[in-house]
Symmetry: C2
Subunit: 361 residues, 2 copies
């Protein structure tokens, strides 16, 4: 069901104003602001209709209007001006990103912190990783009790571990093991690391001291860890600067949820195409704790079939357009660096496709 042009303008004005001031907005304010040449009385009529349509609500008779989640949805889907950041801002973001990025692992923290700084909301970053295998397996002999395991994974991350044994091993054994692991344990996923495989490796290496199992344990650990989604949240405290979280209990509850690594997105629909931005408004969130907050999430391509997400959590009264624009730049930057290379080049303003929950009604 569609609504008149003027209603749309008014709705947009209400949202803009409310986002700015956090106060219910009255008919006068709109009349004096939006460029539609009509008086507050007319606006009042329109507002009343918007209320009955479900886009706005009144905290109480005789207060101004406040957008409902449905109102925000409409705003985000149709009315919002897709904000284009100025060249300076874009460059600033890219510069700050460049300073920070090394490899994915160290990155995820930095990225969420950066997102939080840019938007002034709490931010989270996460990767879901798809099946990972070991690409190379090396063991460096240090001394009779010590060696270093170095594992390179299919996503080109490298993990290492220093192993100190209570018993002495000779260098030959280590070399044998290194060779065996490098042939037997590469190219397989975690499930394929069976006790059978470990046993046969142990026998083949003529290892009587249980070194094999130590190494195998590390292999499993690395594979498991690499497949476990990692999440990082920063800037929870920024919530406190939002008027809707003046109530410490409310703030505490949400912050607790966030820093508990609470799952922000439902798993089924967790991953979008890289480059898209997803907005979940209030009750559209599955987690009870987020029912009156909103989440904006950008998906990026982290290479090797891996997608990652950066998102921002805030009150439903959130500056969706600014947040979406900034996240979009961040995500594009990440895709460019980490991804398999189909991302647009740095300078380019990307399209900013915004997807809703379902494009409801």
């Amino acid at each position: 069901m569609s609504i008149s042009e003027r209603k749309k303008k008014i709705l947009a004005a209400v949202v803009d104003e409310y986002v700015r001031t956090a106060e219910p907005v009255g008919s006068k304010a709109i009349a004096s602001k939006a460029g539609l040449g009509c008086s507050s009385a007319t606006i009042r009529n329109e507002l009343a209709e918007l209320v009955s349509l479900g886009y706005l609500e009144q905290p109480h008779t005789s207060a101004g209007r406040v957008p409902t989640p449905m109102g925000y949805r409409m705003y985000v889907n149709e009315l919002m001006e897709k904000q284009r950041l100025s060249l300076e801002e874009t460059e600033d973001i890219n510069r700050r990103m460049n300073q920070k990025l090394r490899e994915l692992d160290d990155t995820i923290n930095d990225v969420s912190r950066l997102a939080s700084q840019l938007t002034d909301y709490p931010a989270l970053a996460l990767t879901t990783r798809t099946a990972v295998t070991i690409k190379r397996f090396d063991i460096i002999y240090v001394d009779a009790n010590t060696f270093i395991i170095v594992v390179m994974l299919s996503d080109n991350t490298v993990k290492n571990k220093l192993v100190k044994l209570p018993v002495s091993v000779d260098q030959k054994l280590v070399q044998r093991l290194s060779a065996l692991f490098n042939s037997g344990f590469t190219g397989i996923t975690e499930e394929a690391v069976t006790p059978l495989l470990i046993n046969s490796t142990e026998r083949a290496a003529d290892d009587t001291m249980g070194v094999t199992s130590v190494i195998a344990a590390f292999a499993i650990e690395v594979l498991t860890e690499a497949q476990t989604p990692t999440a990082s949240i920063s800037g929870e405290n920024r919530l406190l600067s939002q008027p809707e979280f003046r109530d410490p209990d409310k703030a505490h509850r949400l912050m607790g949820y966030l820093s508990g690594g609470g799952y922000i997105l439902p798993p089924e629909e967790s991953m979008e195409e890289a480059g898209e931005i997803k907005v979940l408004i209030g009750p559209e969130n599955v987690a009870e704790e987020l029912k009156d907050s909103s989440v904006v999430i950008a998906t990026y391509d982290a290479g090797d079939n891996t997608k990652g997400m950066i998102g921002v959590v805030g009150p439903t009264r959130m500056d969706y357009s600014a947040v979406a624009a900034k996240l979009s730049i961040l995500a594009a930057g990440l895709s460019r660096r980490l991804g398999s290379g189909e991302a647009p080049p740095e300078g380019m303003h990307n399209k900013l496709i915004i997807k809703g929950d379902t494009g409801n009604e």
Copy 2:
């Protein structure tokens, strides 16, 4: 200047009660509680004197008494019952620590999180590292454009980096470089990595493609990073459950300070002997933001001349004895795992030496 036994008991009772309830405590409450057989009127007289001595204060005439920082100081230095945790609690802490610990690097986050969980206050963990050198240098050849640098440091941490080059290198060169770095760059500190050294290595390796400088840059990076103190803070949101931080602005300010990695301790006196616990009460803190909070810090031995600290930040009304006891166990556990081995064995209750700021007046 010393005060009577009874005054001490009363002071202790005031602190205990205030810590528990967060409400100013009145004469009646003390009379009915502390085991001293005298009536509320007597207590009132004593309280009045404690106020004039500066150990207590009244928010206003006709409210109960609240300890001053000086009162807390007295309490911590002399009156506090050094809490001994039950065996179960101790074991619980140790178990939870065991689950988590791998190497120092991953640990620091886990430790601060654990400390925060245990005490229910925000916690921070940090290490200052002393001069670190490289102990071993290996380069693993992967393919013509790719190799892995593996560096083992004097503190037995291992770092690696995957290097992808735009040009092809041959395996021989990599081997030469590996050998050269392993002899030339080991045992030296960061400052000793001079352009001169890098140049001579480059020539010796007959490297015309600038590979040497890439590797040297990594060496420098690793050394620098290893010497940079790392800090980690968790559980900031727990502040919100403390009544003194019901004011969101206050909470926000402190949380902002904390998560900005604010320096909690003055550098000069930053490091104590491992095993000691240090308490900084209210205005004893140097940072303006902490002037009405307290900090409890335990120092642990992280091995290889490195000391680390775990600390907890809370309101001055803090359960010092419980926090100190828990941190002490944590610190001992860390020393045992990471340290050079003089820490007491696990089961043992350690002495819990508590040091003040200065043992003032």
